[in-house]
């Protein structure tokens, strides 16, 4: 069983890679085959991710978390590359393949034919995402980031057109510059700490000499800037709204997980390397994260209230979600982090569903050749509308507007964090944890030794969380009124069944998470605890023995595998 899980850890990388290779070999045509292949591959990845998640969560209460460490090429930990499956990474794997699957299903209705190699690029993106979530090595993280970004460059240009190419050009330039920063940061850390393995780095930081520590912190700060560009923190996020708003809707829906990669890396590295045990470097940069997160939320709110079109609103929701997460992570306590993880799942699913929903809504407002014009009266008179024979592929869904309206309202509730959906549960968990005695590492960073009290920054954070929810509600309500109620001669968009399925599935998933909030919150709590107490992770990676090949018995001497592995592991 352990062996199976161990080898399963690399499957989320290999499976999409192999599928993408087959798709490229299939050529530019045969979209149906590629679409089916892609959906099957992503579903299998999702299945693998879920089984990894169940494995990671299988440790009994009180025990250290179950961690599966895969030594790539069978090189021992600090020297070789490791893939690590724990609660956090498997959770992110499940989220990534869910979002990708939704985008993929949605694209099959029409968007995947807007350009070439859509499905292959999506598979490569999934591979890069999974690799970034699994790897335990800084430079390998860079490689998977680049795989992911290269695929995303192709996807952001999918559909072409001058505005899209312009936004894509900016997106690529910004990300190439950020990749340079990533390399500088990673090599500085290697030069100062002498390791690229995350677990080894966490073990070495507390015992670094002072002159090396300064270099190491500089490297970490530069690395952090690279991740924050990707996560979309305030002064580094001006590329984001245009790129996301102009990407084709399924791509934008998939991209809602991309900013979360930056968040994930910060969530993984910052508490591990600069946690409470990091000696002089404890909570390094925490206040920057906190203030940056608060400013990001403020920027996102202003942008959201100022934007007129729906895709741009969704893009600003991405920024608000990033800012909230950054600020909550910077609070530096496991309680707030647990709420933040819940929020991460909820906001990613909601934004993803929102991007897809916007496409359907916008289709009704701008009647094109492919949009069947049906008046509101006609729809309300005959609810049981027959599938239209003029459109051979799609099935007209009765009460389309009702579904779209309910979907829009659900997205608004999720994004604003109002009851009864997960957005509220997540925000409540975060705010609740901030009031707990051990939940306020926020304002306590600078006053070491004294009992932590609710600092000005944490009050600001709470105010910003609540105000941002209010602002999102105002903006969404305004947009909803404008879209659904104001137009008198509104047209009902022609919506295919396949396009509604992913949206409804994403929103139902959020609803399920709400109903199952207890077990989910327990899981998030366990995840957050293991993030903030990374000894299990560090020991799991560094003590992982190499697997000796089955040595044949030579000269009557049996192979002495266990004793030889002892020399390898430190």
């Amino acid at each position: 069983m352990t062996l199976n899980i161990n080898h399963l850890a690399i499957a989320p990388i290999l499976l999409p890679l192999a599928t993408a290779a087959i798709m490229v070999a299939l050529g530019e045509r045969r979209r149906t085959i590629k679409a089916v292949l892609g959906v099957i591959s992503t579903m299998m990845t999702l299945g693998i991710a879920v089984s990894l998640l169940l494995f990671a969560d299988s440790a009994p209460a009180g025990e250290p978390a179950a961690i599966s460490v895969y030594l790539v090429g069978n090189w021992a930990a600090p020297y070789g590359i490791v893939l690590v499956v724990d609660r956090l990474s498997s959770l992110m794997l499940v989220l990534a393949s869910t979002v990708v699957l939704a985008g993929q299903l949605y694209s099959i209705a029409r968007w995947h034919s807007a350009g070439m190699f859509f499905h292959a690029l999506v598979q490569l993106l999934l591979m890069g995402l999974n690799g970034a979530f699994l790897t335990g090595d800084l430079f390998n993280l860079f490689v998977f980031f680049e795989v992911m970004l290269a695929a995303s460059y192709g996807l952001v240009l999918h559909g072409s057109g001058a505005p899209r190419v312009k936004a894509g050009l900016h997106y690529i330039a910004v990300n190439l510059a950020a990749s340079s920063l990533f390399l500088i940061g990673a090599s500085l850390i290697y030069g100062a700490a002498g390791t690229l393995n995350m677990a080894d780095l966490a073990a070495r930081v507390p015992i670094l000499p002072d002159d090396e520590r300064m270099l190491m912190e500089a490297g970490a700060a530069i690395l952090g800037v690279a991740f924050l560009v990707k996560a979309g923190m305030w002064p580094l996020c001006f590329w984001l709204p245009s790129a996301y708003a102009l990407a084709v809707p399924p791509v934008a829906a998939i991209f809602s997980i991309m900013t979360k990669v930056g968040i994930y890396v910060i969530l993984r590295l910052w508490p591990m390397v600069f946690g409470v045990d990091a000696g002089a470097s404890a909570f390094f940069g925490g206040n920057w994260l906190l203030v940056g997160g608060i400013l990001t939320v403020a920027f996102g709110v202003i942008g959201l209230l100022a934007s007129q079109d729906l895709p741009r609103m969704a893009a600003y929701n991405v920024i608000i979600s990033s800012g909230t997460l950054l600020a909550a992570i910077a609070a530096g306590s496991s309680g707030v982090t647990a709420g933040a993880l819940f929020y991460l799942i909820s906001s990613t699913l909601a934004v993803s569903a929102f991007f897809l929903l916007i496409d359907l809504i916008e289709r009704g407002r701008i009647p094109g050749a492919d949009v069947l014009v049906v008046t509101m009266e006609a729809l309300s008179e005959e609810d049981e509308e027959e599938p239209d024979a003029a459109d051979p592929v799609g099935i007209a869904i009765p009460a389309t507007m009702a579904i779209l309206g309910i979907g829009f309202a659900a997205c608004a509730l999720l994004l604003a964090g109002l009851p009864p959906l997960t957005g509220f549960v997540a925000k409540f968990l975060m705010l609740h944890a901030m009031f707990l005695p051990d939940g306020v590492a926020v304002g306590a960073h600078e006053v070491n030794g004294t009992t932590p009290t609710l600092g000005a920054l944490s009050w600001t954070l709470m105010a910003v969380l609540l105000m941002s929810g209010f602002a999102v509600m105002v903006a969404m309500a305004r947009a909803g009124v404008r879209v659904f109620w104001v137009p008198m001669e509104s047209t009902v968009p022609k919506v295919r069944f396949l396009e509604v399925v992913p949206i409804v599935a994403l929103l139902l998933l959020c609803a399920t998470l709400t109903v199952q909030a207890g077990p989910v919150a327990r899981f998030m709590d366990a995840t957050a605890k293991s993030i903030h107490a990374p000894e299990g992770y560090v020991r799991g990676v560094l003590d992982k023995p190499r697997k000796r090949p089955e040595q044949p018995v030579i000269d009557g001497q049996p192979a002495t595998a266990p004793t030889t592995t002892q020399e390898v592991s430190p």
């Binding site: 290269a150 001058a162 050009l169 090599s187």
Partner: protein
């Protein structure tokens, strides 16, 4: 040697950043390339500068860093060169597409 390397990294990075901030797409491309050269040299220098020290183990020489140079940054540089090369090529393609679509080479697609 350290001074020369540091100065050349600085010169490359400085001109790269300056070019990135220019308004023509081709200048941005060259800026990104120069920046990546600077980064590659920087990664290389993180393995400490040594002369006459091979990165590959030899028989009869004790395998400590006193006798060898650190091979890891060299491996990292190779990876980084390959990746930045591919990304620059991709950026060049997008640049040409943008040039074709907007009929000028301003990064915003229009002269302002």
């Amino acid at each position: 040697m350290e001074i020369i390397l540091a100065l050349s990294i600085g010169a490359l990075a400085g001109s790269g950043v300056w070019l990135i901030l220019r308004s023509r797409t081709y200048q941005v491309l060259i800026g990104l390339s120069l920046l990546s050269y600077a980064v590659n040299l920087f990664i290389f220098s993180m393995g400490r500068l040594r002369t006459d020290a091979p990165p590959i183990l030899e028989k009869g020489v004790p395998n400590t860093l006193a006798h060898y140079t650190d091979p890891v940054p060299q491996a990292l540089v190779l990876t980084a060169i390959v990746i930045t090369f591919a990304m620059t090529a991709l950026f060049l393609v997008v640049l040409l597409v943008a040039r074709g679509l907007t009929r000028n080479d301003h990064v915003d697609g229009r002269e302002s």
